[in-house]
């Protein structure tokens, strides 16, 4: 039994087979990267894991449990958090509030007590705050703590979204293009953080990424997709040199 497993996953939008019988498995503690040209079905796979889309066929298993049919809001409770390709932060809230929202699944206080805000609620809030501050420390975001998201530059937002996912304290982190829109320096930082997330926090990472320098740096294993099908799997080097992958990106006879 693998830590996280996708079996024969398929989804069509009308006549387009976005994902066509994809299989892969990743182990705990791995950084597993999915690469592929635009429209290969990478984000669609993420959205099926998040239960935003229901697959036509196939199964998704996490720690042996079938989560294909789980509700979208149950995925975080199961232990899977994610970021989005185009950043889905709560723009009118501050960084701090955004990260605190990430603590939602750890909230145990009933609503009625929240209305009264008794000392127990305050204690719980302080506890969440401490956890959030750990993440702020980890990602070096202290400078922006009380800043509204709408006022912050893109690179910082990208980091905040990663931080918000970490506040969930997941076992598996899905990163949808963590380096898109970042400059080379920020991309390098992102690589260090992904390493730290794996090694220090012990969180497994499933990542979609186009930036091959980042992929080479952090990935334990790489899976290449094209037109919804797996075309190669292996180490970053193996996948990059695979003739089908070269053909998918550059064209020409495979």
């Amino acid at each position: 039994m693998s830590f996280f497993e996708i079996e024969n996953l398929s989804l069509s939008f009308g006549g387009v087979k976005a994902v066509d019988g994809v299989n892969f498995a990743m182990e705990k503690g791995e950084v597993f990267t999915i690469v592929g040209p635009n429209g290969a079905g990478k984000s669609t796979i993420f959205n099926m894991i998040s239960s935003f889309y229901a697959p036509d066929e196939g199964h998704i298993r996490f720690k042996g449990e079938d989560i294909t049919e789980a509700r979208a809001d149950a995925i975080a409770r199961i232990g899977i958090a994610r970021t989005f390709q185009n950043i889905e932060l709560f723009e009118h809230s501050t960084l701090l509030q955004n990260l605190l929202i990430g603590r939602e699944i750890h909230n145990r206080v009933p609503v009625l007590r929240q209305l009264i805000f008794d000392p127990g609620v305050r204690r719980a809030e302080l506890e969440h705050r401490r956890k959030v501050e750990d993440v702020i420390d980890f990602l070096e975001l202290a400078h922006y703590r009380d800043e509204r998201i709408a006022n912050l530059p893109y690179g910082v937002r990208k980091k905040i979204e990663l931080g918000r996912a970490l506040c969930v304290e997941p076992e598996l982190l899905l990163l949808d293009e963590p380096a898109s829109g970042l400059n080379p320096e920020e991309t390098e930082d992102m690589g260090f953080w992904i390493d730290d997330i794996k090694n220090d926090l012990g969180i497994s990472v499933l990542m979609i990424e186009h930036d091959m320098s980042l992929v080479n740096e952090v990935s334990d294993r790489v899976l290449a997709l094209n037109n919804g099908c797996v075309i190669a799997e292996g180490s970053a080097q193996e996948v990059q040199n695979h003739p089908d992958v070269v053909a998918a990106y550059l064209g020409g006879a495979a």
Binding site: D73, F84, F90, S93, I101, V111
Partner: protein, 358 residues
């Protein structure tokens, strides 16, 4: 300019973030508590109306400003609160028992409506809420045994422990205390997980869901709290107008409530209050102005809704953040004077949300 030195996480939880809060809100509190001593009955009544509007607006703010679900049917919750309260009073239920029951009834109706409505979004939800308001108005007209139908229903002055609240200032204090309690309740919601979930649902349902927030449940709870507060306002309104009839709680009132929170500043508690002050006094001003204006204009039907519409449009075009937003900008200007940059609050929409689902 004040720079806050934070040494304790509690500082971000407290209502009064610094001594300025204590001073200005203390001054405001003293002002509203002392106001009846300086004012005559007419203006005390106008103030009471503003407070009741503020309470109803606060209710609508929870669902529209914080949770992002635009409701055009909140007058119906006021109606439910008002009629329930008035009916219970005729059955001999004491004031301070009947009022919470009225609020709760309204809240439960809100909850029942929200269970199907939370599956809708945007315009569809707004239309559904409008339809709901029309249904409630019809029910009020036809359920004559309880509501008196089109004949209307007289509401007696409230009785408190055998003492009749007859004076305007006495009622003013009741409304004021209930409003302050409601504001504290809403502020508590905002600083706890539920309030944050609401903001999350408002800004991005998709990422709220991915963080484990139960979107439908959050919306339903928002409707429950919202409808209860608005119902409470309705119950208080019943004594204020002393006579209930179906047209009191028509579509115009719903629009007025929405107008209030937009003009005041969506998404803030301040907004509900500012909006109520503005709209409440606007009504008074219009009725005074009617005497001055030439009859051809002053007696024009639809003068009020027309004016409301114009104000709403002007605000949406020139200051979408409402009076409170404008005030924040002005305050920033003062704080940074003379270094205020003209485009401090300009936002560029640089990041397209292309891969949005739904």
């Amino acid at each position: 300019m004040r720079v806050l030195f934070k040494t304790d996480y509690n500082q971000d939880i407290k209502f009064a973030k610094h001594s300025g809060y204590v001073f200005w809100y203390g001054l405001l509190l003293a002002g509203v508590f002392l106001a009846p001593m300086a004012l005559d009955t007419y203006w005390i009544n106008e103030l009471t109306r503003v407070l009741i509007y503020a309470l109803a607006g606060l209710g609508l703010m929870v669902v529209t400003g914080f949770t992002g679900q635009v409701s055009l049917g909140h007058a119906a919750f006021m109606a439910i609160g008002a009629y329930t309260h008035a009916f219970l009073l005729t059955q001999g239920v004491p004031f301070f028992v009947s009022l919470p029951i009225a609020a709760l009834t309204s809240g439960v109706v809100g909850l029942l409506i929200a269970i199907p409505a939370s599956r809708m979004t945007g315009l569809y939800l707004t239309i559904a809420s409008l339809a709901f308001a029309i249904v409630v108005e019809d029910v009020v007209i036809h359920w004559e045994g309880v509501t008196g139908g089109n004949r209307g229903m007289a509401v007696d002055p409230p009785m408190l422990f055998g003492y009749e609240i007859f004076e305007a200032w006495e009622y003013y204090y009741i409304v004021l205390v209930l409003l302050i309690m409601s504001i504290i309740l809403v502020l508590n919601v905002l600083r706890s997980p539920l309030g944050r979930s609401m903001l999350a649902v408002r800004d991005s349902e998709i990422s709220a869901e991915s963080l484990g927030i139960r979107v439908a449940r959050t919306k339903v709870l928002a409707f429950l709290i919202s409808a209860a507060l608005t119902g409470l306002a309705g119950g208080l309104f019943a004594h204020f107008i002393q006579f209930l009839s179906p047209e009191t709680f028509g579509i115009l009132l719903s629009i007025q409530l929405l107008l209030m929170i937009v003009v005041g500043g969506l998404g803030t508690v301040h907004g509900a209050i500012y909006g109520a002050v503005l709209i409440g006094f606007l009504e008074a001003t219009i009725s005074i102005m009617k005497d001055w204006l030439p009859p051809a204009i002053g007696n024009q039907p639809g003068l009020e809704p027309g004016l409301f519409g114009v104000i709403l449009v002007l605000f949406i075009i020139f200051e979408p953040e409402g009076v409170y937003g404008r005030w924040l900008k002005f305050r920033t200007f003062l704080e940074n004077f003379p270094f205020y940059r003209r485009n401090t609050f300009k936002r560029q929409r640089s990041y397209l949300k292309t891969e949005r689902m739904r």
